[in-house]
Symmetry: C2
Subunit: 557 residues, 2 copies
């Protein structure tokens, strides 16, 4: 391999490892898509590249001899097929090529694997605008989120996984001379250790965050020496296909087998995920998606699995300085990407006795109206709304929101078709709000994916916390927002929600939202409740991908 | 708590963490039971204490209101009941007390938990001779192994787990100020993180190494804030009961609930392990024992499990400088504690073309005879043999060795009753050796616990390695010894066995044996094959016992 890569990227790697431990703000990839940062023509070129790709084969991958060309993506903004096709390979071909590549990749030293992957991320940076348009038109995210989440934020999460994996594999010495005093003599052994990769890894992507949720597992498996098969959601292939292609190019340029990182797409007439997942050669699986399939993945014997499934995220309203600022913040959180984020809040717990605002009590009913009012104001703001709401990725989500199937309770705010001024055919809907009583547990005890808010009337904050905790422990939770000015209640919330493995954001107002989540600082998903067993990126996320094996031999002399 | 403990033990903790990373020789607890180290009367007092405990209640535990007093231990040396009884508590009582203790223990800071546990280990050191006699007369280990394995070596393994757990919980800051440049202003958040213990832990002990195999999981769970229920093997309670009592005393002295660490013994008429293991409140399980029950433990939903089951350990004979030294070393390894070690070698692979010794070929048959001869010489050495062989813990082991049930092949060496000069009633047998062909796979594809050696005639070393690897991958392996003077073959063995998650000791002769395994240096079990999913003590062994949960809030000002 090109040894200059070590010189080129070792500072980045070192910085990233340090950032993991300092856990203050760190980003390698600027989140601002401005011309000053990315160049005058970057956006335009990205748009052009995306348009040129439409109705064409995606030919960037270095995987040889496809069995067919397939594709079934369509734009939520245009409700039209993209017409892009990708090379199809049978699961057997993917796995046997990965198995072959394994024996090359595992012999590359962790430090070298790490810099190769950093090089790939630096090249991915040159594609952020291509990826942004690809993300918009597969996920329905608005432009800014498409750029940030699929580009710089994803690349930072990938770098985080590379840094964590590199650190864990180099935390113990490669070899030592072990010398034990035995009284009359010393017993001397040469000892050495190897971090042995587990084997072929599968990474199963989701339709809403095709790179952000895929690259952590993908880069974590790669840096620890495991070849990866990326199986994207059939409706969101292009963004991650670009990333896989960039990894393949770096591998080939450095004399390595590009099949160390393969794209494995579904056939048009059948899905290949189960065939891949159940293949005994697959040792590691990363999965993002629904709970039912996630539970199936976790149940597969002989695999190490990393899952992010669904959850019931909560907002606990107790007391605050400024209710208007709070409801504006919450309105943004539920409207952002039309609630299609795994971190979007759903269940809002409000005491029937109301909330305390600057010492005064605001009645329950007024709190409900303020929340609804803030959402209404936001979706009716023509300058903001289209850039926040985006479009609905899956028609089933829109249908669920519109039918409000099986939600028990009083409708506080109805959804409406939202006219996107740039895309007249966009599949959209605005947030819907229902009000239910704490006693109606069935109606709020599951994730209602999409822009659905349930306001749950509780006896008091203690009950709000108890239910939020119970929901998290029974059904999973990825985020929790709490508003309280009482330090005792704050500690109680931290303690109770920590037992439910749920991170809590307190008293967010202004430009920071409960849905947001920063690489190198916020662990994403804790692994401590049914929302998923993996966390980006704690040490567990990388160390389960390899095995420490030791060797020893008497030292001569 | 007594804050002096922090001053008293922080250097020990720091040294232990450093030792984990240096991985050269480190031991806190001297393995030599000499009067110079442990005091003139230590051994005598230990023997007296053990004798005084016989036929009496074990009253050291601080667990209140036992439901009964039970005990069923018997000495493999005397084949007599010990007559010791222990307080019995129902699984429900044990779990509800642990659950209550959890909410106290989890709030003690990791650094404080760590020094409390070091204090307990220092107090355990004062009991090493009590534990040694208790171990002899429950496991059948000889005196020296009883002392070393159950005393200093176990305490060092426990300290290793404490150090690893302490390090992992303090690797990330408790809190930071996170400041993100937003262009015109900086977004400031206070962030904090907690390592949240998983909940009630169960540690299931085995009959042959009642402390050594129990304390790593026990101390790993404790240091990470989980209350522990230790469920010893009903035939080997006393050694670990002493350790649990010492932990309880330190807890109580420091104002903590002794139920943070409970002993939970089986009733005389029924075993309580499954009731405990299946209790939904039990979140963590450490297990040492047979494969069938271990697989059941691993299959329990909603638990994090750490297992050490059985394996088929191998010796690969290719080439060496001095065959006599090699066979003497191997004879010791198979004779030590009559093969009742999880690291004892079983399958010896010898090429039919013989082995190379100093450039000359020694024929296969001569190698077999030399191995048998070395074992015969060792067991007939009256000064050495009783101190190496010990006694047979379980009558079923002796029966299996004597009947040689279902072993296909030619008997090379028969077993004999061995007369222990100190204990005329000791349950003993000497190693038995069978010879089978590589083609007779069924006869060597399982663990034959006890002093059973199978010599497997292979085509060549490549086949020896291939079979050893296959055995490890299919049936598990905890150790492998290989003898080769060829660096290419050595690298091939390292590479192949690393893929089977099996550590390899090369070219051991003299006073170091494949069965031995040093704390702070040799990972015990890799977790990478069916012999078990856990490793003493890699980071995975501790980090799976807690969840990182983060909190954040806008910073004022």
């Amino acid at each position: 391999m090109n040894l200059n890569l070590v010189d080129k990227h070792q500072d980045t790697l070192k910085e990233a490892v340090q950032a993991l431990h300092e856990r203050t703000f760190y980003a390698r990839y600027p989140e601002n898509p401005s011309p000053e940062v990315y160049g005058e023509n970057a956006d335009k070129e990205g748009r052009t590249n995306y348009k040129n790709q439409l109705n064409n084969k995606f030919t960037e991958l270095l995987q040889q001899n496809p069995e067919a060309w397939v594709g079934q993506e369509e734009s939520p903004y245009e409700q039209q097929p993209l017409g892009i096709t990708y090379p199809f390979f049978s699961p057997e071909t993917l796995v046997s090529r990965a198995e072959e590549a394994y024996h090359q990749w595992r012999k590359v030293k962790p430090a070298e694997r790490a810099v190769l992957l950093v090089e790939a991320l630096e090249n991915m940076k040159q594609r952020f605008f291509d990826i942004a348009y690809a993300t918009m038109h597969t996920t329905g995210q608005a432009y800014m989120m498409s750029f940030q989440a699929s580009g710089p934020h994803a690349a930072d999460r990938a770098l985080e996984a590379v840094a964590a994996g590199y650190e864990e594999q180099t935390r113990f010495p490669e070899s030592t001379e072990w010398e034990k005093p035995m009284g009359k003599y010393n017993l001397k052994l040469n000892k050495s250790w190897r971090a042995v990769p587990k084997g072929v890894a599968l990474v199963i992507g989701c339709s809403t965050f095709p790179t952000w949720n895929t690259v952590p597992g993908m880069f974590a498996s790669l840096v620890t020496g495991n070849p990866v098969i990326v199986k994207p959601h059939p409706k969101a292939v292009l963004p991650i296909a670009i990333v896989v292609a960039e990894v393949q190019k770096v591998l080939q340029e450095n004399g390595l087998d590009p099949n160390i990182c393969q794209l494995g797409v579904d056939a048009n007439d059948h899905l290949i995920t189960k065939d891949l997942a159940e293949n005994p050669k697959i040792k590691l699986i990363d999965y993002t998606g629904g709970t039912e399939f996630g539970n199936y993945i976790e149940s597969l014997p002989g695999k190490v699995t990393f899952t992010e499934k669904t959850g019931v995220n909560s907002i606990i309203l107790d007391s605050m300085d400024d209710l208007d600022k709070v409801v504006q913040n919450l309105a943004f959180s539920v409207t952002l990407y039309s609630g299609q984020m795994c971190t979007a809040p759903q269940n809002f717990y409000v005491p029937e006795t109301g909330v305390k605002v600057g010492g005064e009590t605001v009645p329950y009913q007024e709190v409900v109206e303020k929340i609804a009012g803030a959402v209404t104001a936001l979706v009716n703001n023509p300058k903001a709304a289209p850039h926040i709401l985006g479009a609905i990725q899956n028609p089933a989500t829109a249908a669920r929101v519109k039918s409000a199937e099986s939600v028990v309770g009083r409708q506080v705010l109805s959804t409406c078709d939202f006219e996107n001024p740039m895309f007249s055919n966009a599949r959209t809907c605005t947030p819907v709000i229902y009000e239910v009583d704490a006693s109606e547990k069935e109606s709020y005890s599951r994730e209602l994916f999409g822009p659905v808010v349930l306001i749950i009337k509780t006896n008091d904050t203690a009950q709000s916390v108890a239910i939020a905790k119970e929901m998290a422990m029974s059904h999973g939770a990825i985020s929790c927002g709490a508003y309280t000015t009482d330090s005792g209640i704050k500690e109680m919330i931290m303690d109770e929600m920590s037992l439910a493995g749920t991170p809590v954001s307190f008293n967010l107002t202004g430009n920071i939202y409960v849905n947001q989540n920063a690489g190198f600082s916020d662990f994403h998903v804790t692994g401590g409740n049914p929302a998923g067993n993996a966390s980006f990126t704690n040490p567990e996320f990388v160390i389960k991908r390899f095995t420490w094996v030791g060797f020893r031999e008497p030292a001569l002399g």
